[in-house]
Symmetry: C2
Subunit: 293 residues, 2 copies
């Protein structure tokens, strides 16, 4: 495979790995692109098995150790990948000399900032160490969803009503820096994603249908959009095999994600699973209109 999209560089790529399957997927794809990624697995977050990759396990607030690792390994580019569910506690923060002056604002952000504020802060601190933060999609070609259907199925007219209702809700949430996901069934939004994450929201939808609180005669759609103000180098919304399984268990008709700003993990597995389950996967624009199909 050609190393297209690989930035000209002499340094090593680091992947700061949070929870979920994404970091391992990114690491393997980076290796296929000729990189030799060094993994900084966040303690209490990263759950992948990193044998086979050079790696350290470090606490998220331990800037001193992270900075030492950058220097020792000659890191010049950093990908933040996977979710970070636990914010560092103030007592876990171990600043370096160069980050010491920032500690008060770091603490303030940790105490009260939205997820975006915390991410922006983490990226600023990394870049203060001289490495550049890049998006996983800059390392792994084909990770971003494009406009239109990704598999064999396409939405029906009814599905389009759910897509539009879900887009309106996800936009409203995103503007508040709350969440990225919503589920609409029969044209009504019935579930909104908070800190529990997409998989937990889909389980809730399955339970609402089992309880009869949401009709099972209507299937429904999961919509995931990027927050409007989101830094595209971090935490883009993603779907993967577990999302397809959850959507199928919730009886949904399909999934709509923001084209160009959402990641499809293990695309070939995801598309095969969606086709087998009769689910559509659709890249949409955040403005939503059907004219853009």
């Amino acid at each position: 495979m050609a190393a297209r999209g690989l930035p000209a560089s002499k340094g090593r790529l680091a992947i700061i790995a949070g929870a979920g399957a994404l970091p391992h997927h990114v690491a393997e794809a980076a290796r296929r692109q000729g990189e030799d990624p060094f993994i900084i697995a966040l303690s209490r977050e990263a759950d992948a098995e990193w044998t086979g990759f050079d790696h350290s396990i470090l606490a998220i607030g331990d800037f001193a150790a992270i900075s030492r690792t950058f220097e020792a390994e000659g890191i010049d580019r950093v990908v933040l990948s996977g979710s970070v569910r636990r914010r560092p506690e103030w007592r876990d923060i171990r600043p370096t000399l160069s980050t010491l002056a920032k500690v008060p604002s770091v603490l303030r952000t940790l105490m009260s900032g939205g997820d975006d504020a915390v991410l922006r802060m983490a990226m600023d601190l990394i870049e203060a160490s001289g490495a550049r933060v890049i998006g996983a999609q800059e390392v792994v070609p084909g990770l971003l969803a494009e406009v239109g259907p990704l598999g064999a199925r396409v939405p029906t007219e009814d599905d389009w009503r759910d897509i539009e209702a879900g887009i309106a809700a996800a936009n409203a949430l995103g503007a508040l820096d709350v969440g990225q996901g919503a589920v609409a069934v029969g044209g009504r939004v019935i579930a909104l994603e908070g800190a529990e994450g997409t998989d937990a929201m889909l389980s809730r939808v399955a339970a609402l249908k089992t309880d009869g609180r949401v009709s099972t005669r209507r299937r429904g759609v999961l919509v995931k959009l990027c927050k409007p103000q989101q830094d595209e180098r971090a935490d883009l919304p993603s779907i993967g095999p577990s999302t397809i399984a959850g959507a199928e268990a919730a009886g949904l008709a399909g999934i709509a994600v923001e084209s160009g700003r959402a990641l499809i993990l293990e695309r070939s597995r995801v598309v095969k699973a969606a086709d087998r389950s009769g689910l559509f996967i659709l890249g949409v624009e955040r403005e939503g209109g059907r004219g853009r199909r």
Copy 2:
């Protein structure tokens, strides 16, 4: 107790009772106001025990039977009380002659309308039978939350940040006709209420804290607002003893509800339980500013 707020009337009051504790509470309070309420308990919804009250159990779509009951009992005022979790299926609709022409639009609303549209439709159909729909608060004095603290506790500065974050989220949701509730912890909104209801959302918050996905060092606030476009005769947001128990289990600092547009069920029990648990209960304005304290 004086019958203040009781409309001059010769007819009988009906309470169409959905799920939850509210309908029984309204029925007993109405009786204390000198009413002799007739209860139409919705089948598959109402869960209170109605012995001791004149009542029928009817399906929500059975307008023919509901209309006959209005006539037989001389009903001139109707209170809709309690939640309706299951929308009627089209095959359950039994129209009367006067509602027959409305069936196509009824079906359309049931298939695709928001909760508000379904409620407005139900109220139109009832008023077409000649009875007037009134709010529970017009029958039961003291049911509405007023501005300010209801119990002994008041919010701290940190709590005010959560209240403001929760108001912003609940406003955004309400404008989309999605939900009425949000929970903010440490200034961040972490949970949004969809079709699952407030109690289920509070359980989710408790689980997020147990998982460590939300810090337990910050308490947090539940905010419930009325949707901006909501008809105040039906389905005002309410809190009751189960809300206090859920908020306590989720480790929250308190509950903020919209003054003048939210109901406090079993107020004395609620206030006593909140005081015992160290929770504040606060009536707020939807615009949220602290100047309005």
